[in-house]
């Protein structure tokens, strides 16, 4: 492939971006700064007749319109609202109550504690979608108990780290909201498409825990003081579990049945979580203030990446980056499936260093046109509008599950380390997550081989209309 002068700018942009990332300066500002700098470089090289990008100072004015395009994006309103909902359940102590009740129910099952963690992970998943919050919450509440009960360290830590990450896959998930926006695929389709992959992942975790404990009973001893599970304790547990679980059903149900939009459901979810906190007498102004400020802060650093990425993408595009990437990917000579596998392998390895926000915001938009053009023959049952992109988005979403667990940059690992007792080392955590990374890869293979796992549910839902 003959490289035009502009292409060297594109390559230089990527190289500088990656190099500067490792200085530890915030990702958003590295993206923005590299974008602005290369606009200047291109302006100069244009002046000297080396390139013809058309970039100059004035072109950067486009950035403001692009930022406004993020601000008036009706779909993204769901983002702070889902963050609000998750934080309210966490900060009000509702989630913690749910955890304690569940623990009592499973006290007599070998590995029961670990199974509880996985189940709570799934329920929290469906509510928060905020990795940090779920991992910290699960870690704080269950790691000391499990270690105290002389659970095997690796099993305990791996379960917490992996379960805490389910939230980003199981809907409602802020990652899927962002992916839908970036790929121009209905978010509803992604939500529905994620249900089976998410449940499969959860089921794999639970099956693994139970089988592991069956084979090595000494690694998961029963609690020394486990009591009888009587009707009262079951009822008491249900009182704690049902309201948040009901809220989640309400939110997801109203979206899936087409009663409300994702945005509307997110707002109702936020208020619903607040209402539950009030009913459980866990609500006060301090809690509300913390939730409000943390919601703003979390949305703030996610949107910083939006802003950085839009700056980087504009300059990259003006330098012909889109065409170069398309040519490079199609020039690899892979067939459609080969190309998808290649992309997933790249995403997997990028996940060692980056996390879902950067990958969803920088990589996905670059890949979208190439993937849409592929002849994948994904069965959309004649009703799913973009079966290729929906399936692809979910493959990436499942792959990104690994990014939280893979060293050196794994958010779940860091958060978990932060809340563990001092005798737990980072190496213990690394060792613990390996089986779960393998399970995630198994789930990925399943979704790859059976695309209907993704497309069937949305197809059935629309088919009934």
């Amino acid at each position: 492939m003959e490289l035009a002068a502009e292409n060297y700018l594109v390559i230089a942009m990527f190289v500088s971006f990656i190099a500067l990332l490792f200085t530890g300066f915030p990702v958003a500002w590295v993206l923005a700064g590299v974008g602005i700098t290369f606009a200047g470089v291109a302006w100069l090289t244009d002046d000297y007749g080396l390139t013809m990008t058309g970039l100059d100072y004035n072109t950067l004015g486009l950035l403001v319109g692009r930022i406004f395009g993020i601000m008036d994006n009706w779909v993204l309103i769901a983002l702070p609202m889902f963050i609000f909902m998750g934080l309210m359940l966490e900060k009000s102590g509702i989630a913690e109550r749910m955890m304690h009740s569940m623990q009592k129910l499973f006290g007599n099952v070998r590995g029961g504690l670990a199974v509880t963690v996985a189940l709570i992970g799934i329920i929290l998943a469906a509510s928060t979608g905020i990795i940090g919050a779920s991992v910290v919450l699960l870690g704080l509440m269950s790691v000391p108990v499990m270690l105290n009960q002389e659970y095997n360290k690796s099993l305990a830590l791996g379960t917490v780290a992996a379960s805490g990450c389910l939230g980003i896959l199981i809907p409602p998930s802020i990652m899927l909201v962002i992916m839908g926006d970036q790929l121009a695929v209905p978010i509803l389709d992604l939500f529905m498409g994620a249900v089976f992959p998410g449940l499969i992942l959860g089921a794999l975790y639970i099956a693994y825990i139970l089988i592991y404990c069956k084979i090595y009973p000494e690694k998961a001893p029963l609690s020394r003081d486990h009591g009888e599970v009587d009707l009262m304790s079951v009822l008491r547990a249900l009182v704690d579990i049902l309201p948040p679980a009901g809220l989640i059903l309400l939110v997801l149900g109203s979206i899936f049945m087409g009663i409300s939009t994702v945005t509307e459901a997110s707002g109702i979810g936020a208020l619903g979580a607040t209402l539950i906190a009030v009913i459980f007498r866990r609500f006060n102004m301090q809690v509300l203030k913390e939730v409000v400020i943390n919601t703003m802060n979390t949305a703030g650093y996610i949107f910083a990446i939006f802003v950085g990425a839009t700056i980087f993408a504009l300059v990259l595009r003006e330098c012909g980056g889109d065409e170069l990437i398309e040519a490079a990917l199609t020039g690899l000579g892979f067939g459609p499936n080969g190309l998808i596998i290649f992309v997933l392998v790249v995403v997997f390895f990028l996940g060692f260093f980056l996390d879902w926000i950067e990958i969803s915001l920088i990589i996905l938009p670059l890949l979208a046109p190439v993937i849409s053009a592929l002849d994948l023959q994904i069965n959309g049952f004649g009703v799913v509008e973009y079966p290729n992109l929906t399936w692809f988005a979910l493959l990436v979403a499942v792959t990104l599950q690994t990014s939280f667990l893979t060293p050196p940059v794994g958010f779940a690992l860091f958060y978990l380390k932060g809340v563990c007792p001092p005798n737990v080392s980072l190496v213990d955590i690394y060792r613990g997550v390996i089986p779960f990374i393998i399970l995630q890869l198994i789930a990925l293979v399943l979704v790859f081989v059976f695309p209907e796992l993704v497309t069937w549910l949305p197809a059935v839902a629309y088919g009934n209309n």
Binding site: W29, G61, P80, M81, A133, V135, V292, I293
Partner: protein
């Protein structure tokens, strides 16, 4: 006070002061998220409760829907500045974890000066123009029933750039002072004449962790 100066134990009063201003402003606007949730609820009630039954049809939904993204965009954009004040922006910190504090300060200073600041200044320049343009052209929604006065929500962009500049300058001052005093004991023998200014720029022991120091996740 025999402790040596480091970023973990010391802060710079002027930087803390500037951060405080930004934080107080943005925290006030964060409450718009509650308003947003309530507005969504009202819209849902109108849409599914009343409009479905042909009631309150005169109450148009389009302006309410537009108001939704007006409300959503303010805390989100101002949140960018907030995340600078409490350093919660996402970093790739594998190498940074093993860097000396001196190197960390140097990278941070260079990053603010070369990557962040130019971007903020340029965006401020264009967004101010963008807002004024909307004002002088009397721009409104392109939906016939939409909201007028687009310049109000557009002014959020230059304002958030301004807040970010303040936060970035605060951070810059803090980093420079900490770099200069790094590993030294804080000196108390400044001549009285310049003591007021000096005091603002001298690292002080942190009394207590800022309660909003950590992002949510």
């Amino acid at each position: 006070m025999s402790k040596v100066v480091s970023a973990e134990t010391h802060h710079v009063p002027i930087a803390t002061f500037l951060n405080g201003i930004v934080q107080r402003i943005v925290e006030a606007f964060a409450w718009l998220n509650v308003l947003l949730a309530l507005l969504i609820l009202i819209t849902v009630i109108l849409r599914y409760g009343f409009h479905r039954n042909g009631l309150l049809l005169e109450w148009p939904l389009v302006p309410m829907e537009e108001l939704m993204w007006h409300l959503y965009s303010v805390p989100v954009m101002f949140g960018l500045a907030y995340s600078i004040t409490n350093d919660s922006h996402i970093r790739i910190d594998i190498l940074r974890l093993n860097m000396s504090n001196r190197l960390k300060h140097i990278f941070e200073i260079l990053g603010i000066l070369l990557l962040l600041m130019p971007c903020l200044v340029i965006l401020f320049d264009f967004s101010l123009d963008y807002t004024v343009y909307a004002f002088t052209h009397n721009e409104s929604s392109q939906s016939t029933m939409g909201l007028p006065h687009r310049w109000i929500v557009k002014s959020v962009i230059p304002l958030s750039m301004l807040l970010m500049m303040i936060a970035a300058i605060a951070r810059l001052i803090g980093e420079v002072v900490l770099l200069m005093h790094h590993g030294k004991e804080p000196d108390d023998d400044t001549p009285p004449r310049i003591q007021m200014t000096a005091r603002l720029l001298r690292p002080l022991l942190k009394v207590d962790d800022n309660p909003h120091d950590k992002g949510a996740g």
